[in-house]
């Protein structure tokens, strides 16, 4: 597991003729294996669009997206996706949700069971293996969604505002948990958020985007030691850098 994600001069247009919308222009960024990169930017700047292209749900209108040396041509098990809404399959139990990926990829039953047990342990929900999604709290659902996305041992995890729908306390808990999981699994993470605090707390680098047309304004390397202290001067200074760039992205000129 050591593959870089490379976006080179990526463009994206929606619709054609009068309805043509240029969602992204000339987006280039390279994400190293094992890196945690966040994307922030005003609403409508194309963050989700960008992620949907990396996930393979959309194809780009120009430029290339490569994972290692392979061009991305559609969704695949090498990229796990966590959505803003948990997107769990409601008729499957927690266990069935997590094992879905390995199952459709033809893992042996023994390997599936071992993997599910390991992941349930990782997210601390071993007691809920046979619960239905409707029986879980919002935070628990999102944990299961993360475990499900990790089940195939993907090269990278794509997360589109995964904690935005949670209350502050639960969000804080899941942020710590995600860091723990990231450190333990070494997965590359591309993380979209609206929150400057969240981006500063979690990421190695933060890409700041602007809208109309959507592009990456700049990428900030945080260079903060971990674990991070949100009250330390270095943290507040890094947060300020992100915040200032974002302000520039939101009010151009």
């Amino acid at each position: 597991m050591s593959v870089n994600l490379t976006l080179a001069n990526v463009d994206l247009e929606y619709g054609s003729g009068k309805e043509r919308v240029i969602a992204l222009t000339d987006v280039s960024i390279q994400i190293k294996a094992g890196e945690f990169v966040s994307i922030v930017g005003p609403s409508g700047c194309g963050k989700s669009s960008l992620m949907n292209m990396v996930a393979g749900f959309l194809s780009c209108s120009g430029g290339t997206i490569k994972l290692g040396n392979e061009s991305i041509s559609g969704p695949g098990a090498d990229r796990g996706v966590v959505f803003q809404e948990h997107a769990l399959f409601p008729w499957m139990t927690v266990k069935q949700n997590i094992s879905y990926g390995p199952k459709v990829n033809g893992w042996s039953k023994k390997n599936i069971d071992a993997r599910v047990a390991e992941l349930l342990d990782l997210i601390g929900l071993a007691g809920f293996a046979n619960a239905w999604p409707k029986q879980l709290s919002g935070g628990m659902k999102q944990r299961v969604a993360i475990a499900r996305a990790l089940a195939n041992r993907p090269e990278m995890l794509l997360m589109d505002e995964p904690f935005a729908a949670l209350d502050a306390q639960t969000r804080r808990m899941l942020q710590d948990e995600l860091l723990r999981i990231w450190e333990k699994t070494g997965t590359t993470i591309l993380f979209i958020t609206h929150s400057i605090d969240e981006a500063t707390l979690l990421s190695d680098r933060v890409a700041v985007m602007k809208a109309n047309p959507g592009e990456i304004l700049d990428v900030i390397s945080l260079n903060l030691p971990r674990p991070r202290d949100e009250n330390s001067n270095e943290f507040l200074e890094a947060r300020r850098r992100v915040s200032e760039l974002l302000k520039r992205a939101s009010n151009p000129i």
Binding site: G76, V81, F83, P90, W91
Partner: protein, 255 residues
């Protein structure tokens, strides 16, 4: 708990109203007393033809069952096709939309000419009647399966076909079940109509026979029998649905 009390209470009330009115009518003679039999008289009438009841119920149930199964298989199959393929949708849907508004009973005379007075014409008419609602519900359920769930499945490595069978179809289950329940009701509804018009046995025919005999009490009994059998049938289907769809957040939980 209080749900049960209300339900039982309302049924009891209507029943009592009927009984009370038939007694009142026997004294006041608003109508000839034989026209409005009381509950005990209806039960007595049923007792009088008790040797015919089991075979009537059986033959009617077989007709409903055969017609319903044909409708369910075709409806779910075509609904899945229309729901997943644009080409199939354009080929199938317009034809069915034209046939749909025609009342199924309009086809009975045609079916009788084509297939004779035997079982086939009745079974086909029942199938025809309950097919549409099953088809439409399946089609809508599959067509509008949550795209987010489909994306999740694809990103986990499921190919198109696998994602239909593991995600698209199960996520349409609530709609399919609604279709099946409504379709079963429809099947039952036209069964009785078909038996009134073209049968020499079955629950519907027994009402027709009572009409020729001017036996309103037997007609009441026939209607009540159909009601009870239908109630049990639809109740069983509802039970099955609740069990199979236990994963679904219910109305009470959603509040």
């Amino acid at each position: 708990m209080s749900n049960t009390i209300l339900r039982v209470g309302s049924v009891t009330f209507v029943f009592a109203l009927w009984w009370g009115f038939s007694i009142l009518n026997q004294h006041m003679k608003f109508f000839p007393p034989a026209m409005i039999p009381s509950p005990p008289e209806v039960i007595e009438a049923g007792w009088g033809i008790r040797d015919k009841v089991p075979s009537d119920v059986l033959i009617s149930l077989i007709r409903v069952f055969e017609g319903f199964v044909i409708a369910a298989v075709l409806g779910i199959f075509l609904g899945c096709l229309s729901g997943t393929s644009r080409v199939a949708e354009n080929l199938i849907d317009p034809v069915l939309e034209i046939l749909r508004p025609i009342p199924p009973l309009a086809f009975l005379p045609i079916f009788i000419i084509w297939f004779g007075l035997g079982e086939l014409s009745k079974v086909l008419m029942i199938a025809f009647a309950s097919f549409f609602i099953i088809y439409v519900n399946t089609y809508q359920g599959v067509r509008y399966a949550d795209p987010l769930l489909m994306r999740a499945a694809r990103s986990l490595g499921a190919k198109k076909r696998a994602s239909f069978f593991t995600i698209g179809l199960p996520s349409a289950m609530p709609e399919i079940f609604t279709g099946l329940r409504l379709g079963a009701g429809m099947a039952f509804f036209v069964l009785v109509a078909a038996e009134l018009l073209a049968a020499d046995n079955g629950m519907g025919f027994r009402i027709q026979e009572a009409r020729w005999q001017f036996r309103v009490d037997r007609m009441f009994f026939g209607a009540a029998l159909i009601g009870v059998v239908g109630f049990v049938l639809l109740g069983a289907l509802r039970r099955l649905e609740i069990r199979l769809l236990a994963w679904k957040p219910s109305r009470d939980e959603a509040r």
